[in-house]
């Protein structure tokens, strides 16, 4: 990417983020109640989006060749187990990432 393309890309992320933060105050600032469909999406969209983002993170992993995604699957299982055990975001992320780094550097190089 050129510098200009980088600026446009980051600018798109800034614009999108600011839209999500400022829109409710611009649209509903006078006390109107948000439409039911918006509240419905508020309840159900995040779960689907984070499922999509996990797939996004794994999009370049090849599950049919090489290690069949073993380091990713093991580290995700460990992250999940840590989070269910301790419910501490930092422990889960740190533990899962550290394990993944060991796996890709030493076990599945």
């Amino acid at each position: 990417m050129t510098m200009l393309e980088q600026i446009v890309t980051v600018g798109a992320c800034v614009l999108g983020t600011m839209a999500t933060r400022f829109l409710p105050f611009l649209l509903f600032g006078r006390g109107e109640k948000p439409p039911a469909v918006i509240r419905y999406l508020g309840d159900f969209l995040p779960g689907a989006v984070f499922a999509l983002l996990i797939v996004y993170c794994l999009k370049d992993v090849s599950f049919l060749t090489g290690y069949h995604g073993a380091p990713e699957l093991i580290a995700i299982a460990a992250t999940t187990a840590l989070h269910l055990a301790f419910r501490q975001m930092l422990i889960s992320i740190f533990g899962g990432t550290a394990l993944y780094m060991v796996l890709v550097q030493f076990v599945f190089p």
Binding site: T9, C13, V14, L15, R21, F22, F28, A48, F50, Q105
Partner: protein
């Protein structure tokens, strides 16, 4: 109270933000180190954390910078990833009402963690509400930006191999996903998200699947609305 109102607000706000400090420095440093290992100068994590101020989006933005140029996909992806902010905003409409010049800053700084404090914390007696919100928000902002900048600056000094560090992004989404699990007792939206994402990945490949997947998820959620809400929509 009028004279040292800001000092008192800062002292009241700080304890609420200590856990966020730990979390933001850890994730912010990781983000800065990740950008450094991806070949970017510390200026990138510094400016991106200042301008975007949405942690998960900054990790994704890094991978967008490494992918072919596609600003429309970047914008759509940001709207989907950060769509949850809309609901934070709706929840904060009343609390942030009438706060004058502070209000645009409070809205700009309304990340997950700041929302969770300002939405739930009761402003201590004698403390100006707007100043309390402002102090919580700016502290969290400074934690994040400083962590990301330091990570970018000192990422090169690390004595260990950073290969695999990018998994921090995956782990972060797994954790947020698990936290979302409880919001939908039957987890149908999550299965929908997974199914649509995997199908789109198989059909369109890793470079082009995000937009079809996002469209598919929105369409699926809207089509299944009466089923998901038990007809009580």
């Amino acid at each position: 109270m009028a004279q040292n109102g800001w000092g008192a607000a800062l002292r009241a706000a700080f304890p609420y933000t200590v856990p966020i400090f730990a979390g933001f420095w850890f994730l912010g440093l990781t983000y800065g180190i990740y950008m450094h290992s991806a070949g970017f100068s510390f200026v990138y994590p510094m400016l991106m954390s200042m301008a975007i101020f949405a942690g998960s989006m900054e990790f994704i933005a890094t991978s967008l910078l490494l992918a072919p140029f596609d600003p429309l996909a970047a914008l759509l992806l940001t709207l989907m990833v950060n769509g949850r902010h809309v609901f934070y905003g709706i929840s904060m409409l009343e609390r942030y009402k009438g706060l004058g010049w502070k209000k645009p800053f409070l809205i700009f700084w309304l990340c997950d963690e700041t929302f969770s404090i300002n939405y739930t914390a009761n402003t201590p007696a004698g403390i100006d509400r707007g100043r309390f919100y402002f102090c919580v928000s700016i502290l969290n902002y400074l934690y994040w930006v400083s962590g990301a900048t330091l990570g970018g600056l000192f990422g090169g000094l690390l004595a260990f191999d950073t290969k695999g560090l990018s998994f921090a992004m995956t782990a972060m989404f797994v954790v947020i996903f698990l936290e979302q699990w409880k919001n939908d007792p039957e987890h149908r939206s999550m299965f929908l998200g997974f199914a649509v994402a995997v199908l789109a990945l198989l059909a369109f490949g890793p470079q082009g699947f995000m937009i079809p997947a996002m469209v598919g998820i929105l369409a699926g959620l809207l089509a299944l609305r009466s089923r998901f809400t038990g007809g009580a929509a």
